[in-house]
Amino acid sequence: MVFQQEGPDQPVVHNGTVHAPDAELAMLNARDVFVRRPEAVALWVVPADAIFTQTQEELAKAEPADQAASELSDYYVFAKFSQQAQCRQVGQVQAGSPQAAVQAAIATFADKQPLWWWVFPASAVLKNESSEAEPMFSAARYKTYKDQAEYPVVTMMRALRDKGRLD
């Protein structure tokens, strides 16, 4: 799963999926697939099976998780707030299991009412180093020929019609 941050003040959002046999290739593929145009300052890749999701309905039926059982680790908490919205980052919690992480997320971010919660261990994420951001994302900026504004076809058509009228 690929997550992308489009600007320094923007949340990290789920953006899509790439196929790759390992994390490093997933990162490279994610960059090539999703940053063909300049819209990123950070990329995260997470194996799909590391993501634990629960809908509000599933939560209502869920058993309370046993918090004491295992060691705590960091989990990223993402949430989807509407049908159309992308899943986006709301914060981070410490928990002993993915189930417990969802419950901790509900407790910590009590004001949020998302349709879905997504949690995954911070250890499962590969992020680009901030020093890599420039080589990874700057190239797209110079490729102005990908921008439709480079092709003033409406003006060109108008000029052609005006010329036709004069002839």
């Binding site: 196929h19 790759a20 490093e24 290739l25 090539d32 080589p135 990874m136 700057s138 190239a139 490729k143």
Partner: protein
């Protein structure tokens, strides 16, 4: 900068641009034919960057010659004869299998990273600025090719055998990286460009170690008899013919 030196530097830059153009041409041949859809995208990206870099160097070369930088690069690309191109033979060899293309890219990228690092320190500021910009993009290329070399070198028996065969075929041509570019001696003395031979020493050490770690055997073979950039293989005329085929249908047209 005095006239003669401007002229020399433009020759140097056009040779650099020719390398990028021809390598980008070979990379672009993978578009639609790569082993994984994601690599179609990646190789197209490499090609876009290489050809974009060629354009930047041709433009600076045109500037130094007092030519129009919006039209002169296309004149150079589409209306020179194959014998006038100054790229090294390494980049003109056909794309081969994916091991060959990936390894060639790695060998070239690793050298370029060193050359661009040096060029970004050039005493000629316009050159240093462009080199710095290109360098950031090339660092990403290196990451891509560095990721694949060990995966293929150590992956399966077949991938290992293909990589070793690619290395054996490429290594003699890669020695051409040590050959000076046009005008290099004088430009180096003036602090404008680095010495290719000195860069080659560093490159050789770094690359050999990396290849060995990727399970490949580096044999120290004697270099090609003729590494000079004015000599080419039979593959270049065919490539240039393809490259120029449409533009030459109508030399007066603006395409």
């Amino acid at each position: 900068m005095e006239r003669a030196r401007q002229y020399a530097l433009s020759g140097y830059l056009i040779a650099l641009a020719d390398d990028e153009l021809i390598l980008g041409h070979r990379d672009s041949e993978w578009t639609g034919h790569a082993p994984i859809l994601e690599e179609d995208i990646a190789f197209a990206n490499l090609a876009l960057d290489e050809i974009g870099h060629a354009k930047l160097w041709y433009e600076l070369g045109a500037d130094l010659l007092g030519q129009d930088k919006t039209t002169y690069p296309d004149r150079l690309v589409y209306f020179r004869e194959p014998a006038q191109f100054r790229n090294m033979q390494l980049v003109e060899l056909p794309k081969g299998d994916w091991a060959f293309s990936t390894l060639r890219q790695y060998l070239f990228d690793a050298f370029e990273a060193l050359r661009l690092e040096a060029l970004s320190q050039s005493s000629y500021t316009p050159l240093a600025e462009i080199a710095a910009r290109i360098r950031t993009e090339e660092l990403y290329h290196l990451r891509h090719s560095q990721a694949w070399v060990p995966r293929l070198g150590l992956g399966t028996e077949e991938s290992h055998a293909r990589m070793q065969a690619a290395l054996d075929a490429l290594w003699p041509y890669a020695q051409g990286l040590a050959a000076p570019l046009p005008g290099e001696q004088d430009l180096h003395a003036a602090g404008i460009v680095p010495s290719s031979a000195a860069l080659f020493e560093r490159w050789s050490g770094e690359v050999s170690q990396f290849l060995v770690e990727a399970g490949l055997q580096v044999e120290l073979r004697s270099p090609l008899a003729d590494m000079h950039r004015s000599s080419h293989s039979e593959h270049l005329p065919a490539l240039i013919h393809d490259l120029q085929s449409v533009a030459r249908l109508d030399p007066e047209a603006i395409w």
